[in-house]
Subunit: 243 residues, 2 copies
């Protein structure tokens, strides 16, 4: 048992085709928005059957590298958009039995520095977006459905103000995970609404006056408040969230 051999694996043709296509996309030979050749043509070039090409294309579609634009039929190279990526990540997180505590902790770590960076970088346009999100939440005095959405939207807007694509993409999955639970939380704890509104107002003010430190600390309290809401709502922080 001295020597060990590497597992020799013969990749199926559709995988090779997928990889060949992916390579061209990643090295930007195939630019974003480019339409790719017809399936028949690809089949000819790769020397495989059309069905094989199709399978490869479907795989890349699954990874978000290919997609058809607005219900049209033509397949184009697309870069995986934030929401698509986030969807995949949150699916993965759910399947890894992530708990509410995990999410809350991550938010607690991520959001305050994000708010801080946002306060430093925000442009006027960013500010307007954040203000709008905050106003939308405040206006939604009935519908829990969209209230949760707008609460998440506020975080997203703050994230966008950092102008750092990684941070934006990073906290998107968290928001996506949080949103459904926010709904039930706000149903059970009506007073949380008011708290959220004032917290958002404070954060917005701090970002407006570019006070990074204040933005951070208000955001910290804001997140902590959320967890208190969950406690009151009787959510077990150790329970896992569902997709």
């Amino acid at each position: 048992m001295a020597i060990e051999f590497d597992a020799i694996q013969t990749e199926p043709a559709y995988r090779k085709v997928a990889e060949a296509l992916m390579e061209r996309i990643l090295d930007r030979t195939l630019q974003r928005g480019d339409r790719l050749p017809s399936e028949t043509e690809l089949a000819r070039q790769f020397g495989v059957n059309r069905s094989t090409v199709r399978e490869a294309v479907r795989e890349l579609q699954g990874s978000g590298l290919l997609g058809r634009s607005r219900g049209s039929k033509l397949l184009v190279v697309t870069r995986p958009e934030a929401d698509h990526v986030a969807e995949g990540v949150s699916r993965a997180l759910v399947m890894h039995d992530v708990t509410y505590r995990d999410v809350w902790e991550a938010l607690m770590i991520l959001e305050p520095p994000i708010a801080e960076a946002a306060a430093r970088r925000r442009t006027e346009a960013d500010l307007a977006t954040i203000a709008k999100a905050s106003a939308n939440f405040a206006a939604d005095n009935e519908d829990t459905e969209s209230a949760a959405f707008h609460a998440a939207e506020f975080f997203r807007a703050v994230g966008a103000a950092t102008h750092n694509r990684i941070l934006m993409m990073g906290h998107d999955p968290l928001l996506q995970l949080l949103e459904p639970s926010l709904r039930s939380m706000m149903d059970k704890v009506p007073q949380s609404r008011a708290r959220i509104i004032t917290a958002e107002k404070r954060i917005l003010e701090a970002i407006r006056s570019k006070d990074a430190e204040a933005a951070r600390s208000w955001m910290t309290r804001h997140i902590r408040d959320y967890s208190r809401g969950y406690e009151i709502a009787g959510v077990d922080l150790e329970s896992r969230l569902e997709g």
Copy 2:
């Protein structure tokens, strides 16, 4: 132009099949590790052709929800593993023209709190893993190839010590993006090696003694050091990284 209609979209059959399968996976009817029925059987159940089933399966494979275990032929339900997810995310980031500065900033925000949490939560086993990664890096006094790998491994080990799956998954893509550039950086700036070694040692010590504050601040310096390394190496922080 008063009214607007929602775009009516007829989803192709393979998409519907994919979604039906995904639903069963997400609601855990199909457990992780379960083998799914044969393609012929699935085709029978869904009332479509085998080729159609295949395309659906390929799509789910692309999202990491299905996979074949170790070169075997049988398809099983898999949860998207961290590295698979991270790969997708970093691909997406590259295609979104992320710059070195973006990565560095994100690390600067993420890693210190992660180190802090790690110091609080670490078990003996975690500590051993971190120590090993650090030792591995120190031992690699020739090979830049694996030195970069071990440098990333150190971060990963620290991340694992937080026992928060979200944080682990979150900083994985960053490391994956960083690794190639680390290689060239260490080539051009040999003295960075020594600095990294001492920094890792300090962080390790702080985590060992559960000194959260120290872990955080040493990690901050550590990351800052990296950026200095890039400067010396003459890397333009505004240039985008390549896949």
